[in-house]
């Protein structure tokens, strides 16, 4: 048994440990069942769910870059009705936290999604995706304007019932503290950052973008130092004072990476792209974080949060 107390409080929830799998990188979790035991994680976050099912963008939807990858999945998902009917019963059986990530094109849609989900058992909280760079209508446009962030958050929050609302921020803004602050004023219970960075890969022979969607979102180890910086900014400028927890993510692939985000100010962390390289990457992150704390004599994992000198 580990001597580290890994339990964390996160937006009113008690979590086994601070490690999650990130939205869009663990499907509806059943796909990962064969490779790992999700109950060993603090929790996981669903792929973005929309009101109607979405086919998403045509292939190619991904391309590898140096130390990272672009994706433009385009919010492909089965829609909220099917999610509730077909996926939730299985999800409910898992003894771990789950945030349902929701996306829409108009504020109404987000509110409707929240109302449909907030009264369901087996859902720990909601994550608001207002930062997807891969769909034209909406998505990231909400995510860059503090006024819109405040509005959408304050309208969705009442529809969440007693479930915590986490707002996922885009890194593609001049001043992330402003967008973070807007989400907090709007009533967010937690912030998650970062979503992907808009980027493009061009095939030089055909002189066309490799992705069918032309642009995509950059994720993976390449973005980690930027994500760590943004987490530390938001923690220092906003979260620390507002006492709002941060879910930190971007390129995490081992215990040290997770510790880096926590020291920068995150209360919990998510593993995204690394799951593609190894289906059980998130378990190894949780394990590595535990071993890091043991070797450093850290008794309570939550002590790491914001402990940057």
């Amino acid at each position: 048994m580990s001597k580290v107390n890994e339990i964390i409080k996160f937006a009113g929830l008690n979590l086994k440990n601070p490690v999650f799998t990130a939205s869009g990188t663990c499907g509806y979790i059943d796909e990962l069942d064969d490779y790992m035991d999700i109950e060993q994680l603090g929790g996981w976050i669903t792929k973005s769910i929309t009101l109607k099912p979405r086919k998403g963008n045509p292939a190619p939807r991904v391309v590898e870059t140096n130390g990272g990858m672009l994706n433009a999945i385009g919010l492909a998902n089965i829609g909220v009705e099917k999610f509730i009917a077909e996926k939730l019963p299985l999800i409910r059986q898992k003894d771990t936290a789950v945030f349902v990530n929701v996306a829409g094109q108009k504020i109404d849609e987000y509110v409707e999604l929240a109302s449909k989900l907030s009264d369901k058992d087996g859902i720990s909280g909601l994550e608001l995706n207002i930062s997807c760079p891969n769909v034209k209508e909406g998505g990231i446009s909400f995510g860059t304007d503090p006024a819109q962030i405040k509005e959408i958050t304050s309208e969705v929050k009442p529809a969440c019932g007693d479930k915590p609302l986490m707002v996922k921020l885009t890194p593609s803004v001049t001043d992330i503290s402003k967008t973070a602050e807007a989400a907090v004023i709007g009533g967010a219970d937690a912030l998650s950052l970062v979503n992907t960075f808009t980027a493009m890969v061009i095939d030089v022979r055909s002189r066309t973008p490799v992705l069918a969607n032309r642009t995509g979102g950059l994720s993976g180890p390449a973005i980690k130092p930027m994500a760590v910086y943004l987490v530390s900014r938001v923690y220092q400028d906003v979260a620390k004072y507002a006492e709002i927890p941060i879910m930190g993510l971007g390129g995490i692939r081992n215990g040290s990476d997770a510790a880096e985000f926590m020291i920068a100010g995150a209360s919990a962390v998510s593993v995204g792209t690394s799951t593609f390289a190894s289906p059980d990457a998130s378990l190894r992150v949780a394990d590595g974080l535990r071993r890091f704390c043991e070797s450093e004599g850290i008794k309570k994992i939550s002590e790491l949060t914001g402990s940057l000198n």
């Binding site: 869009g24 990188t25 663990c26 499907g27 796909e31 990962l32 069942d33 064969d34 490779y35 790992m36 792929k47 086919k55 998403g56 045509p58 292939a59 190619p60 939807r61 991904v62 391309v63 590898e64 870059t65 140096n66 130390g67 990272g68 990858m69 994706n71 999945i73 492909a76 993976g220 180890p221 792209t273 799951t275 593609f276 390289a277 190894s278 289906p279 059980d280």
Partner: protein, 305 residues
């Protein structure tokens, strides 16, 4: 080692044999033992595995024109179909044929005997066995050849009375991923000796007939006197070729399985990157996943006329 009910998981493999055929093609054999051997005992032709290439050395000499691509530092695994999978005592041997086109394939090609590589697999749905008594015609182009070769070979291993016919195409001889071709031997007498017929075609006539493998297949079929319902086709290769074969096959009423290639990130159905639009029975379209629902599909599903 994680594993699932189908015993697919992440396993450490050891490079057992690396054979280079010119600058652009190499054949790699990997040894799996323990849990890995158990998992790959169930591997079937047309399935694939995801090979980790991050952390492998970049060769100091690269095939011409690959220098710029090869410097990219990879993070994702690379999917490869099997050329063969067989038992070796307690261990299993997994062989692949690798077309060296970028950073990951260049790194694999530079492996030394004994080097360790992490393999995730076996993955996806391979070729289905033909209906009882049907003859199987394999048609393959370029790097689509290995899985079709594997399928035909395995069918004949399992059932010595199985009749198989094989057609292989490539741009030129140097690009044809068949060991005997590269060794200057006759495939019909070597790895394809179990086939009733083997024919090759190259765009430049440097090996086999001059022309497309699809044409070679079609003219042979026309002369063969075979009826569509006596046969099944298994095909893998570039998409235009798959389409052409599917079109002919549908006309002739031959059940056809096509193996597709899509850019993959995860290989296990979580990332949704490898979508294949398919026509459902009711005429509506939906996306299937190449990695999980494929890579082998029914031709009518993916190439409806």
């Amino acid at each position: 080692m994680s594993q699932n009910n189908n015993r697919s998981g992440v396993f450490e493999a050891s490079a057992a044999r690396i054979t280079h055929y010119g600058e652009k093609i190499c054949r790699l054999a990997f040894t799996l033992s323990g849990e890995g051997a158990k998992a790959f005992e169930l591997a079937s032709p047309g399935q694939f595995a995801q090979f980790q290439v991050e952390g492998l050395a970049l060769p100091s000499e690269l095939p011409e024109g690959l220098e710029d691509k090869a410097v990219r530092q990879p993070i994702l695994r690379r999917p490869f179909s099997f050329l063969d999978v067989y038992r070796d005592g307690e261990d299993m041997i997994v062989e692949i044929m690798c077309d060296i086109i970028g950073t990951g394939t260049a790194r694999l090609s530079a492996l030394n005997t004994g080097d360790k590589v992490s393999i995730l697999g076996p993955l996806g749905r391979g070729f289905e066995k033909p209906a009882e008594g049907r003859k199987v015609i394999g048609v393959a182009g370029g790097i689509g050849i290995p899985p079709v070769e594997h399928f035909l070979r395995q069918l004949c291993r399992d059932n010595p009375r199985q009749e198989c016919f094989a057609f292989a195409g490539a741009r030129c001889k140097a690009d044809m991923p068949i060991a005997s071709v590269q060794q200057g031997k006759d495939p019909a007498k070597e790895e394809y000796s179990f086939c009733r017929h083997f024919a090759a075609a190259t765009d430049d006539g440097s090996f086999g007939k001059n022309g497309l493998v699809t044409e070679a297949f079609e003219s042979w079929f026309a002369d063969s006197g075979l009826a569509g319902e006596e046969c099944e086709i298994a095909v893998c290769g570039p998409e235009p070729m798959l389409k052409a074969i599917a079109k002919t096959a549908h006309k002739l009423g031959i059940r056809t399985q096509v193996s597709l290639e899509k850019m993959m990130a995860c290989g296990i159905g979580v990332c949704q990157s490898c979508v294949v639009p398919v026509k459902k029975g009711d005429g509506s379209e939906e996306n299937k996943l190449c990695c999980k629902d494929g890579p082998v599909f029914d031709s009518r599903e993916v190439f409806p006329e």
